[in-house]
């Protein structure tokens, strides 16, 4: 089987690799790049634990071929804030107890970034529908909703301040 040369930007850094056609992006990120914050929970694109951003949009990386990401800009949980700092969503999940075991959390946060980008001021219902492709078995979602609400408010404030 032929190998394919791919080049993509991951968390701001350019990465070039030779990969098999069938290599799933989630495995490329976890195994080839050793970034294990992106998780695998279901294999059927049902749980969202593997959610990352491709060109700014949330995507389930267990259902995405690495070769297709050639030329793409990819962001994972490891790349949403500079070392030692927190993205407003990371801070909010901590403040609102939006995580228990932490396994779904990276995917949940990556999805929420896209959600807040397309809808900066979502209602509770819009948040619940907006994260409906991401399963959490621990929190009962109440506090995840609160986390997204807090982050939305903080990001709105930041935006206002920067204008």
């Amino acid at each position: 089987m032929a190998k394919h040369k791919v080049t993509m930007t991951i968390n701001g850094k350019s990465v070039t690799a030779e990969v098999d056609s069938r290599l799933l992006l989630v495995h490329f990120i976890r195994e080839n790049l050793d970034m294990t914050g992106t998780h695998i929970g279901c294999d059927t694109s049902s749980c969202g634990a593997c959610t990352i951003l491709i060109d700014g949009k949330s995507v389930k990386s267990c259902t995405y071929l690495t070769v297709r990401a050639d030329g793409a800009e990819i962001t994972t949980i490891e790349g949403i804030a500079a070392d030692g700092t927190n993205h407003p969503l990371q801070k909010a999940f901590h403040d609102q107890h939006g995580l228990h075991c932490g396994f779904c959390t990276p995917g949940m946060i990556m999805r929420s970034i896209d959600l807040l980008k397309t809808n900066p001021n979502p209602t509770e219902k819009e948040i619940r529908w907006g994260i409906s492709g991401n399963l959490c078995r621990c929190t009962g979602y109440n506090n995840i909703v609160k986390s997204v609400q807090q982050a939305a408010a903080e990001m709105a404030k930041e935006k206002e301040a920067s204008v």
Binding site: T36, C42, D43, H97, G102, R137
Partner: protein
């Protein structure tokens, strides 16, 4: 109410401090089993049976071994050479690691492929050619004891049929007599279906055997690493795996809920493979493997509840048929095969009760996982809470009123239940009153009457449960003889900071925060100055792990007592430093002072420093303490849950309008974390009530073995939970605390079922088994209408 003794900075009990463990998860730096990568690591993939019951005619490895990178295909025959093809279960049954001749359930492990890469291992598994001779599977447990049923376990000496055991508790004759004489008897067959914990992280292992040191290092998704180490040593001692050579590390765990207590065949195969090959071997379940192996519930319960005509409960009887699959591999640490099922008499005061159970073999996956419940409490509570509602409906009494009239009263505690438990404390009346106030019960009753008059279907469901958690006292519990204590080991360093290690293992419960808070409460050292460590059998003290809501009742108690030992030592040091006698020293959180002269004082940090630098003559230096806590009793958290639903007659659609949960778990260590646990458990309660259940067809095939069809609720299905609490401290726990995290999983399903059935009652529907789905409701409505 509970009053905090410490400042928020110290962060002792009662403070909602934020979790210390969060940062690594939020930054993608958690370390889960699948994140472990060792040099030279191989990957294992399991070939599984497509049939529920079949003879294995042949396993041809050739094509698989021809694939570049496939190193081995391990079969039952291979393991049999080392006598590792079977393993004992906790309940004295036996389970195949890999079969040599027969598969007993669909998706059973048939053989395992070891390869250099995960992808190649999957290709290898596809290439293994297994020939089967399928046989007629036994799927219906009610047919398991038929004369013409196949004998599923001829391998077991003396096994003449598919009956595994009979268990009973209580007085059959007196209960039968009370039922026969009662004014009112309600009966129902209630089924709690097979469900799965479906933690978002599946199970997995990385086993690494070093032939030179003879050490076996195992990273394992385990809620009970110490117990597993002992079991491994007992099972594999004969091939040279000695307990001191086994190190199990349970790294971060992506949800457990009981599903990561058992020893799965895949673990054993990977460990055996590493032992034989001498290289690290990783096995991570995929989701379908996870969902079709292991299960919880699967109890068919015939219930009878007897009462006077005005609703005073007199007797309860329940006869259960339990479907265990092909072996009884229940992850049950109690001395009773049915675990805590005898809590089924509930929160009510009456004299006569009898519970019995027969367990049978079928061609289904084994498991018997204590899914977020201290083994069979969910079944027990569902039985009694459904029956109490059925009684209320039968005699036309408000179900809340009926409960008030039958509750065990506050002053009756400790209460000896008819089936032998000693309930420690509770104030059931206050808890239910609080739930009714919070939801506005009277208003909903009015609204319901109005809606019913308009022909609309609205229901209100109550559940007032009593849980039994904190396994447990050695008289009731052990695992292979090991008592169910748990442990804490505290080291306070010279600078007054501390490290504490425990025999438990968090899977999201927040131990790194709550244990630190317990120590902050007892020692006055800020919780931020205390590191918590668990899960490594080489470093942590021996303990039985985290499940059965036992961490706070056992290890939490051990932490408090170990801290008090330190405080006693510290008092001697403080007396030495302040140059007074020990009797003149008093303690308040964080410092020792001289009686009557509070300005003369030494902080706990001063004392810790002195323990290494300036201790009294003759005293052993250092500031460390350890305690192993064997609880005198279980704890009995309880709660009152109320659910309001509307059902659309035309479609069967169910809308959960409100859900209020009032929990009483005694004194609370961290209210934020407790509330979070309740939220999560409630969603795991609505899941079996309305969505989840493993479905088999007549051939024993699982029909919903992926998350596309096994319907784990999302944020949309999960209602906005409303929570609150009452506090009735446990009288026997050093902190007055009780376990809590399982209460919502136990209490929510009957509250929801009661609400939906209440909504449908005007149509003549008196019972539905969970999961109550819209199509099931619609079908029931058609049947009811046809009858009417």
């Amino acid at each position: 109410m509970f009053k905090c003794k410490t400042s928020p900075e110290v962060g002792g009990m009662g403070h909602s401090v934020k979790r210390k463990e969060d940062a690594r998860f939020l930054h993608g730096k958690g370390k889960f089993t699948d994140d472990v990568k060792l040099p030279g690591m191989l990957h294992m993939v399991i070939v599984r049976s497509p049939y529920a019951y079949a003879k294995i005619l042949s396993i041809n490895k050739e094509k698989a071994l021809a694939i570049d990178g496939v190193l081995a295909v391990i079969t039952g025959e291979d393991l049999a050479q080392y006598n590792l093809h079977w393993m004992p279960t906790l309940l004295s049954d036996s389970q195949m690691v890999l079969p040599t001749d027969t598969v007993m359930h669909q998706s059973q492990e048939v053989c395992a492929v070891i390869a250099t890469d995960r992808y190649i291992a999957v290709d290898g598994a596809e290439a293994v050619d297994v020939q089967y001779e399928p046989m007629k599977a036994l799927v219906d447990p009610y047919k398991a004891l038929d004369k013409d049923a196949p004998l599923l376990r001829p391998d077991k000496e003396g096994q003449k049929d598919n009956h595994i055991y009979h268990w009973e508790r209580g007085e059959r004759a007196k209960t039968d007599a009370a039922i026969a004489a009662a004014d009112v008897v309600v009966k129902e067959r209630i089924y709690l279906p097979r469900i799965h914990v479906a933690s978002i992280e599946t199970c997995g292992v990385v086993a690494s055997y070093d032939k030179d040191t003879e050490k076996m290092l195992i990273y394992l998704t385990s809620q009970a690493p110490h117990a597993i180490r002992t079991i491994l040593a007992l099972v594999a001692g004969h091939v040279g795996l000695s307990e001191e050579k086994i190190r199990i590390i349970a790294p971060d765990i992506g949800g457990g809920f009981g599903g990561k207590v058992p020893v799965y065949p895949g673990y054993v195969i990977a460990i055996a493979a590493s032992f034989l090959i001498g290289k690290p071997v990783k096995w991570i379940e995929d989701r379908s493997e996870n969902l079709v192996n292991g299960f919880a519930r699967d109890y068919h319960m015939d219930c009878e509840l007897a009462a006077t005509k005005d609703g005073k409960i007199q007797a309860f009887k329940v006869s259960t048929l339990a479907d265990h699959g092909y072996t009884d591999s229940s992850a049950n640490p109690s001395k009773y095969p049915t675990g805590m099922f005898s809590i089924c008499t509930g929160s009510y005061d009456y004299e006569h009760a009898f519970a019995e159970l027969d367990a049978v073999y079928t061609n289904k996956a084994p498991g018997g996982v204590a899914y977020r419940c201290s083994f069979r409490v969910t079944e027990a509570v569902h039985a009694i809470e459904r029956m109490v509602d059925k009684l209320a409906a039968e005699i036309g009494k408000d179900p809340a009123q009926l409960r008030f009239e039958n509750f065990i009263k506050k002053e009756q505690f400790p209460y000896a239940s008819p089936l032998g438990w000693s309930y420690d404390s509770g104030d059931y009346k206050q808890t239910l009153e609080k739930a009714m106030d919070m939801i506005g019960y009277a208003d909903y009753k009015k609204e319901q009457a109005e809606k019913r008059a308009q022909g609309k279907l609205m229901g209100i469901g109550i559940c007032t449960f009593t849980e039994v958690v904190g396994a447990g006292p050695s008289k009731d519990f052990d695992i292979l003889g090991i008592k169910m204590f748990d442990s804490a080991e505290i080291r306070v360093h010279p600078t007054g900071k501390a490290l504490a290690r425990f025999g438990t293992k968090s899977q999201g419960q927040g131990h790194e925060t709550t244990y630190a808070q317990i120590l902050a409460e007892e020692l006055g050292i800020p919780y931020t100055d205390i590191e918590i460590d668990e899960g490594d059998t080489d470093t942590a003290p021996y303990g039985l792990g985290t499940y059965a809501s036992r961490s706070t009742p056992t290890a939490g108690a051990a932490a408090a007592i170990a801290a008090r030992k330190l405080r006693d030592k510290g008092k001697k040091i403080a007396a030495h430093l302040l140059e007074v006698s020990e009797e003149d020293i008093e303690w308040e959180v964080g410092k020792y002072f001289v009686k009557g002269a509070p300005e003369k004082s030494k902080t706990i940090q001063d004392v810790a420093f002195a323990a290494y630098t300036n201790f009294p003559e003759g005293m052993e230096p250092g500031f460390e303490a350890t305690h192993y806590y064997d609880p005198p009793n279980l704890t009995f958290p309880n709660g009152a849950y109320i659910c309001v639903v509307e059902v659309e007659e035309e479609t069967g659609a169910i809308d959960v309008k409100r859900f209020v949960a009032i929990d009483d778990c005694g004194n609370i260590i961290n209210p934020m974390i407790v509330e979070g646990q309740i939220h999560g458990g409630l969603t795991q309660g609505i899941a079996p009530a309305m969505y989840e259940g493993i479905v088999y067809d007549d051939e024993g095939n699982v029909l919903n073995g992926t998350l596309m069809d096994y319907l784990v609720p999302t944020a949309v299905e999960s209602p906005h939970w409303e929570t609150g609490h009452t506090i009735t401290p446990s009288p026997h726990h050093p902190l007055g605390a009780k376990g809590v995290a399982e209460s919502p999983t136990v209490g929510a399903p009957p509250a929801i079922a009661n609400a939906i059935i209440d909504a449908l009652y005007p149509l003549g529907i008196k019972h539905l088994d969970i999961p109550i789905t819209p199509d099931k409701v619609w079908d029931a409505i058609q049947v009811a209408k046809a009858k009417a």
